[in-house]
Structure formats: structure tokens, C-alpha cells
């Protein structure tokens, strides 16, 4: 198994932590992983992204330009990364923030209203977890349980009460795509 994923959006949308959570979960499952953020505060106000690679084998380059999957959370990221999804790959996007999705037909393009759902769950911050849930439904590269275990490890004790809402968010994401019944 080798999954090369890019996650991209505005700085505040939890882009980096989405990728990182996935990476941690990969580690829980003893897979090889690499997580490479775009970095630099000079980018402030701009977009942020991270490349997450999960593999059964040693990972060579942590930086790649073609992706198996892309998760994009704003329009500039859609415009930038949609063309870089490999033929047959997956392009998952947040539909409240992106009005013009890619028109490619050789990849799977799926939009979910994660932001709207998050607002309804009264926690805008968990938008990224809803998206992650959706992604994992479509590409089960790690188990949801591994995500939860990863979160438990990563979050300091005092934030463990947030595990539950994160769990709900993941499930919500899963549901959303399930409803879309793409697969």
C-alpha cells in the first residue's frame, strides 16, 4: 500500500493537523509515513498544505508533485492541486468554501459541506475531522480506531474530553459520503 496525499486550504482550517493526525494513525498501524508541511510564516494569510505519505514500505521522496488523493479546503488550493491528482485518483473538497470545483473527468471529485456540518455541530474547528472521516470512508488507508488512538496519544490529557466530538466528526464525515453513495 502506498498513498500519497495532499491536504490544502487556508491557514486556519486545520490543514496541517488533518494530515498529521493521519500520519500518527499510520504510525499506530506501524506503517511507514512521512508528513511534509508547506512552511514559513511568510506564507501567513496565504494557503497552507501538507503532503502525507503512508506506505507499507520505506518512503523515498517526502516531496512529490503528483498525488493519489487531494483534500482541498479552499478555492486557491482547488485551483492549484486539482491538476496534480493522478489519473484515477481522488479529489475531496469542502463544498461550502469552494464554489468552482475542478471539471476533470478522469478522477473522482467529491464535495462535502463539512464547514456547514461543523457549524451545526457547534464547533467550527472540527471541520477538518469531518473531512478526514469522509476521506477515510473513501480511502480506508488507516482505521478510524487508529485515528482515535493517535488522537489520544497526541492530545495532552486535558484535551481528552475533545476525543468524543472528534469521533463524532469522523463518523459524520463518513456518513456524508456514504449518503452521497458514490461507492
Amino acid at each position: 500500500m502506498l498513498e500519497e496525499l495532499i491536504v490544502a486550504g487556508f491557514g486556519g482550517q486545520g490543514v496541517l493537523s488533518l494530515g498529521m493526525t493521519l500520519a500518527y494513525a499510520g504510525m499506530v498501524e506501524e506503517k511507514e509515513i512521512s508528513w511534509m508541511p508547506s512552511y514559513g510564516p511568510e506564507m501567513r494569510g496565504g494557503t497552507a498544505n501538507c503532503i502525507t505519505i503512508i506506505s507499507d514500505n520505506k518512503i523515498s521522496s517526502p516531496i512529490i508533485s503528483q498525488f493519489d488523493s487531494a483534500i482541498v479546503l479552499n478555492q486557491p488550493s482547488m485551483d492549484k492541486f486539482a491538476p496534480r491528482v493522478k489519473r484515477g485518483g481522488l479529489l475531496l473538497y469542502e463544498s461550502a468554501n469552494i464554489l468552482k470545483p475542478s471539471t476533470r473527468t478522469d478522477i473522482d471529485i467529491i464535495g462535502i459541506p463539512a464547514a456547514t456540518e461543523a457549524l451545526q455541530m457547534k464547533n467550527a474547528k472540527i471541520m477538518n475531522m469531518i473531512v478526514l472521516g469522509a476521506y477515510l470512508h473513501l480511502k480506508p488507508v488507516v482505521k478510524i480506531d487508529s485515528i482515535l488512538e493517535a488522537l489520544k496519544k497526541v492530545l495532552p490529557e486535558k484535551y481528552h474530553h475533545l476525543l468524543e466530538i472528534n469521533h463524532q466528526a469522523l463518523m459524520k464525515g463518513s456518513e456524508l459520503v456514504h449518503e452521497l453513495a458514490v461507492f
Binding site: M27, S34, M36, G40, E42, S61, P62, I63, S65
Partner: protein, 355 residues
């Protein structure tokens, strides 16, 4: 068994510094390595170690000088422009034979440039960016694991040879997260009789200096240094070879570009091209000898770098005219894709025909 963690390269390096018994870290913020200072600012005090944000890189390197001269394991880290500012200090450290660890998380220059990863500081690192005849032992990690491992190695080599060690990383290796295991390491006993800790009656005074005003004495000192560098050249060459056994072509690359080349190699091999990867781990001492041997059974080598062609000179010096040595590079923080590299390889194969 040592625990495996998911960490940024910069943080793994910082954690390793603690485990390697680094007594003191002096640094100044600069992207893409500010995490080192930040991590250590949180963690070092817990271990009773010294961590200090200096007023500049010039101050940092001179604080390292002071601490190293007093016999402590001291380090600093920075990125390209900051490392340039340290050149005088580095030359002094080398001249005074002070062991220490300096990390350059290379970004792309010249000047202010960009904060994206680069390998434009190869010459500065390996040929001496400072004045005079000296060499740094230069270690080039290409993974988060090596960011950690080379801290131990770096301190050990520094102490062994009483010479500064430079770890030449880059923004990507510093910023990326990978799994890292901190192997058990025993901090060696302090044994630096030359250190300036206050002169007891039982010994002559110690002094740390790089000044030898009489050329006769200076030359003796220089020769002593050269003898040391010779020893280092003989004993400390490190490199990694992948698929060189049957290789008709060889990528030569270090650090991040070696990672990309590895992928390129995989792609090329899928196409049936017999290409191998030669990854120098020590950039000084450089594995000239081994490259010269490999040249005997290779059609050409391709040095892949994130600069305008620096290490390629060393590859050529190693190969010494036996086979063509080609160069492929991207600049300014841009990275070649594995596909680009394969394409370049194929073009060159065409060009060099069936040599």
C-alpha cells in the same frame, strides 16, 4: 527497546541533542529551523542544561566557542544567512580545535532568498566558508532518523578530533515528520584536559587560541590540523549505496535530493534502466575513492543537487576523468520531481550513446 516517535526533523535533532548530552545550545531564530531553539527552550531547562537565545548568529557561535572551550558539549543551529554570519566564528573554532556541533538547515539563496529547501551551501560547508585552511566534518542527513542519529555521531566525531562538525540538512528534512527511534546512547565521561575551567596548581594553564603570530609556529599548527584532516579522510568516510552493484548509471546525491533520486531510481528501474544511487553521508571527508572505483564499471554519473552544480565538482574529482559526470539541479527552493530526474537520465543516455 527505544520508543519510536513521529517527529519533525528539527525536533528530532533537538531531542537527540538532549540525549547526546549536549550541555548547551545557543541559537537565534531563523526559518526553517526555529523549532530547534523553541523545542530546547522548553526541554533543556528540565535537564538542567543551558539553552539561550543569543542576540545574533555571531553571538551564538561565539557563545558556543566559550562553552566548547570550557569543555562542554555545545551546539548551535541556523539556516543559510545565519550560517554565513558564523563564518568567522567557525574558522576560529576550527583554528582553536574546539569540538562542537553546528547545524545548517539549508534554505535557498543567495541573499535573503527564500525559506524553501536548498543545497546551495554545499561549497560553503565543505570547502570552508570561512578564511584559512580548515575543514569541518560535514554530515548530510537525509531522513528524520538521521537528523537524530547524526547528532550523536556529530558530537562524538567532534570530540574525537577536536574539530567542529557541521550537519548540513535542509528545510524539507528539518520540517518533515517521520518516524524516529532514539537509540540508547551513553554520554561519554568528560575528558578534556585542555579545557579552560580554572587552572589548578597541578597543571600548566590552558588556553584556547587560534593565534600564532610567528609563521613558523603557525605553520606547525596548520600542519597539525592537516594531519588531523588526513586522519579524518582516512577513517571517517561514510556513504550509502543502493543498487550500485549492477548499475550502468549512478545518481550521486545527498540529503533531500538523494531521497528524490531514490524514487527516480525506482521509476527508472521499473523501466528497465540499470541505475543506482550513491549517497555521500560525509560531505567532508568526501568518498572520492569509492566513486573512483565505481567509475570503472559505470557509464556515467549524474549528480543531482538543489543548487547550480556544486557537489558535482567533488564527483568529478573522485572520478578523475574516467567517465562523464553530469549535473542536474533545480534552484531557488524548487525541487526536481522523480520523473524529471528520470527524464534527464534518459536524455543523457541518448546523448552519451552506447558508450
Amino acid at each position: 527497546m527505544a520508543e519510536t516517535k513521529l517527529m519533525k526533523g528539527n525536533e528530532a535533532m533537538a531531542e537527540a541533542a538532549i540525549l547526546a548530552g549536549c550541555d548547551a545550545y545557543f541559537g537565534y531564530p531563523i526559518t526553517p529551523q526555529s523549532e530547534v531553539l523553541e523545542y530546547l527552550a522548553r526541554e533543556m531547562p528540565k535537564h538542567g542544561r543551558v539553552v539561550m537565545q543569543a542576540e545574533s548568529e555571531v553571538a551564538s557561535i561565539n557563545m558556543v566557542y566559550g562553552a566548547a572551550g570550557a569543555g562542554f558539549r555545545a551546539m548551535t543551529s541556523s539556516s543559510s544567512p545565519g550560517i554565513s554570519l558564523m563564518q568567522e566564528g567557525i574558522s576560529y573554532l576550527a583554528g582553536a580545535e574546539l569540538p562542537c556541533l553546528i547545524v545548517n538547515v539549508n534554505r535557498a539563496g543567495p541573499g535573503l532568498g527564500t525559506i524553501q529547501p536548498g543545497q546551495g551551501d554545499y561549497f560553503q560547508s565543505t570547502k570552508g566558508g570561512g578564511h584559512g585552511d580548515y575543514r569541518l566534518i560535514v554530515l548530510a542527513p537525509s531522513s528524520v532518523q538521521e537528523m537524530a542519529d547524526f547528532v550523536y555521531l556529530g558530537f562524538d566525531l567532534a570530540d574525537k578530533y577536536r574539530n567542529p562538525v557541521l550537519m548540513l540538512s535542509d528545510g524539507a528534512i528539518g520540517q518533515m515528520m517521520e518516524k524516529v527511534t532514539f537509540h540508547p546512547y551513553t554520554v561519554p565521561e568528560k575528558n578534556k584536559p585542555w579545557a579552560t575551567v580554572g587552572k589548578p596548581e597541578t597543571r600548566e594553564r590552558n588556553y584556547i587560541t587560534s593565534l600564532f603570530i610567528q609563521p613558523e609556529r603557525m605553520e606547525v599548527h596548520n600542519q597539525k590540523l592537516e594531519a588531523k584532516f588526513k586522519q579524518i579522510r582516512e577513517n571517517e568516510v561514510r556513504f550509502e549505496e543502493i543498487n550500485t552493484d549492477d548499475a550502468e548509471y549512478i545518481f550521486v546525491a545527498y540529503g533531500l535530493s538523494a531521497r528524490i533520486c531514490q524514487k527516480a531510481m525506482d521509476l527508472a528501474r521499473e523501466k528497465g534502466i540499470k541505475v543506482g544511487l550513491f549517497r555521500p553521508i560525509t560531505l567532508f571527508p568526501y568518498p572520492y575513492q569509492r566513486l573512483n572505483e565505481l567509475a570503472d564499471k559505470t557509464k556515467f554519473m549524474l549528480s543531482v543537487e538543489l543548487n547550480s552544480g556544486q557537489m558535482v565538482e567533488d564527483v568529478r574529482l573522485g572520478v578523475n576523468g574516467k567517465i562523464p559526470v553530469e549535473f542536474f539541479g533545480r534552484l531557488g527552493g524548487m525541487l526536481p520531481t522523480p520523473e524529471d530526474i528520470v527524464h534527464q537520465l534518459e536524455t543523457l543516455m541518448q546523448h552519451h550513446g552506447n558508450r
